[in-house]
Symmetry: C2
Subunit: 327 residues, 2 copies
């Protein structure tokens, strides 16, 4: 940051405000005639513990302003990371926002949305002037909470939050000019091999190598794979083109040679191969679930998302495993 201040450009001011990360909330109320109302807001924050007060702001130009000014009660829903679509729905105008949504009924008959990470049922305490917005301060009369990861908004975009971990710092110091455990290549290599270290006993029990497992797994995705597709697809996940591994699988009767509709040499799982692959995949997924549960829901989603983005940044045109075949 430079020491000079920026002249007042509304776009720049919005960008600067967007540098402050927030959760995302939906605020609901009902009109005097019982019509449910709701809107998305990220201007929420806590104010006071005793009495329990929270606040949020609403633009003077909002079509919902009069209803909220008149409402004795409203509810704040702090959205979970899987509620981005709900956030979008309540951010748009004119839609019947509650259509098809199951709601609970809270204090004052306010509609309460489900699946949020926290909900605060409030009665209006104060309404304060805030320039082109009104600041609504509510006293919390009831609340509930779930242990889900939050939806985050930052820089005008939705984001994930992942807790920092004091133990996650690289344990090896960064030696002058040398290698470090913070090097991404090391982290990826070690994660890859340690992850497969969990799965390898399952493979060993079936006398399968990592590569053979990759090939069997990949073949569950597509009935017939040509030799060319196999070599191209496999080059993304194993060091060599997999020929030896495929031959071994054919010899064991888990994969068979076939011809595709164009008469090209291709591979297909046998019934035994399919059974073997599916039982291993089920077991591997169970191991994956246990590991990801230790990491936490939100963190697991973030890790997968970032690995996908890393892959895209390494090769934006990279095919997915069988992308060329339209799957």
């Amino acid at each position: 940051m430079t020491d000079t201040t920026t002249a007042f450009d509304p776009t720049e001011f919005r960008k600067a405000l967007g540098a402050f990360a927030t959760g995302v909330t939906i605020i609901t109320t009902r009109t005097a005639d019982g019509t449910p109302l709701g809107l998305t807001a990220n201007s929420f924050n806590s104010v006071s513990l005793n009495p329990p007060l929270v606040l949020w702001s609403l633009a003077n130009t909002s079509g919902n302003l009069e209803a909220f000014k008149a409402a004795p009660n409203w509810a704040v829903h702090v959205l979970a990371s899987d509620q981005e679509a709900l956030s979008g729905r309540f951010a748009r105008r004119g839609e019947d926002k509650f259509a098809g949504i199951d709601v609970d009924t809270g204090a004052g008959g306010i509609p309460l949305l489900r699946g949020c990470t926290a909900r605060f049922q409030c009665k209006t305490a104060f309404q304060y002037e805030g320039g082109d917005h009104i600041i609504f301060v509510g006293e919390v009369v009831a609340f509930d909470r779930a242990d889900s990861s939050p939806l985050v908004f930052h820089g005008g975009k939705y984001a994930h939050a992942a807790h920092r971990d004091a133990g996650a710092k690289p344990r090896n110091p960064y030696l002058a000019g040398g290698f470090s455990e913070d090097f991404l290549g090391y982290l990826l290599g070690r994660s890859h091999f340690q992850f497969f270290g969990q799965i390898r006993p399952l493979l060993a029990a079936q006398n399968l190598t990592d590569e053979e497992f990759y090939i069997l797994s990949a073949l569950t995705l597509k009935e017939v794979v040509t030799a060319d597709q196999m070599h191209e697809g496999m080059s993304n996940v194993i060091d060599e083109n997999g020929s030896t591994a495929i031959e071994a699988l054919v010899l064991r009767g888990l994969v068979r040679n076939v011809f595709d509709i164009n008469g090209k040499s291709a591979y297909q799982l046998t019934a035994d191969g399919s059974a073997c692959a599916l039982s291993l995949i089920t077991a591997a997924k169970s191991i994956e679930s246990q590991l990801l549960a230790k990491l936490g829901d939100g963190e697991a989603a973030v890790l997968k998302s970032l690995l996908n983005r890393l892959l895209n940044s390494i090769d934006p045109n990279a095919n997915s495993l069988w992308h060329q075949s339209g799957i």
Copy 2:
């Protein structure tokens, strides 16, 4: 979340409020006699665009309350992800918080901290009652911003934020019982091999395998490594124990056999090996930097942090590469 509401337990209420993610700010001002003051707050939020207003809340019990009530100006600093220590410093009482910190001087002589992701210089517009807090609303008279990733607070802990990416969804559908590109093992394997795909041309130019590169790199961390340490350390990053790779490096004069102080068989880089390793590491780090720059600062930090946590969750007692030797 169940539909039942929780009885009013202060700890539970704090937890529910903590479900709303926030950025972290430091608010500064100066007393009438010019003493700089500052405190950490996450109760900040934007209020109005025209006029430009922001707000934050301060406890009635704060020792700084009277100073802020009397101050015509104050400044909000939205902290960047690398400012966790600064956040902690300004959250503690009694410390000379500004000692040794370079500050700029803003409107009204307010001290401005550096390295933040956004700064808002404000004059007090309103002070509103907010239960056990006062809500300070300020008119922004100047601001600046930097493109750094934000420090985030959620669930009582510091967090990273990583933007979601619409393109990051797995492209292969999840087939019944089958493999999927969302499977962590696939993502790790593919990331690992694609990352090394960037580095491999460098290795090929030196006629080195991935394993040989790992060993050379690891040997830059520690002068003498016993055979046992090597095999144990390498089992974390390569499939086999690395014996063949080490022998090849010895034959090429990049590594030599030595004895450690206990007379055990050990390995050490030769001058050629050291030069070769350092030039490759420099090039590999440059490739890493380019990839991580595409991913973004915050995202890169989150990815590394999550991979470290994944490693810890796979094996909480896992040694780092040469952990047993006290490095």
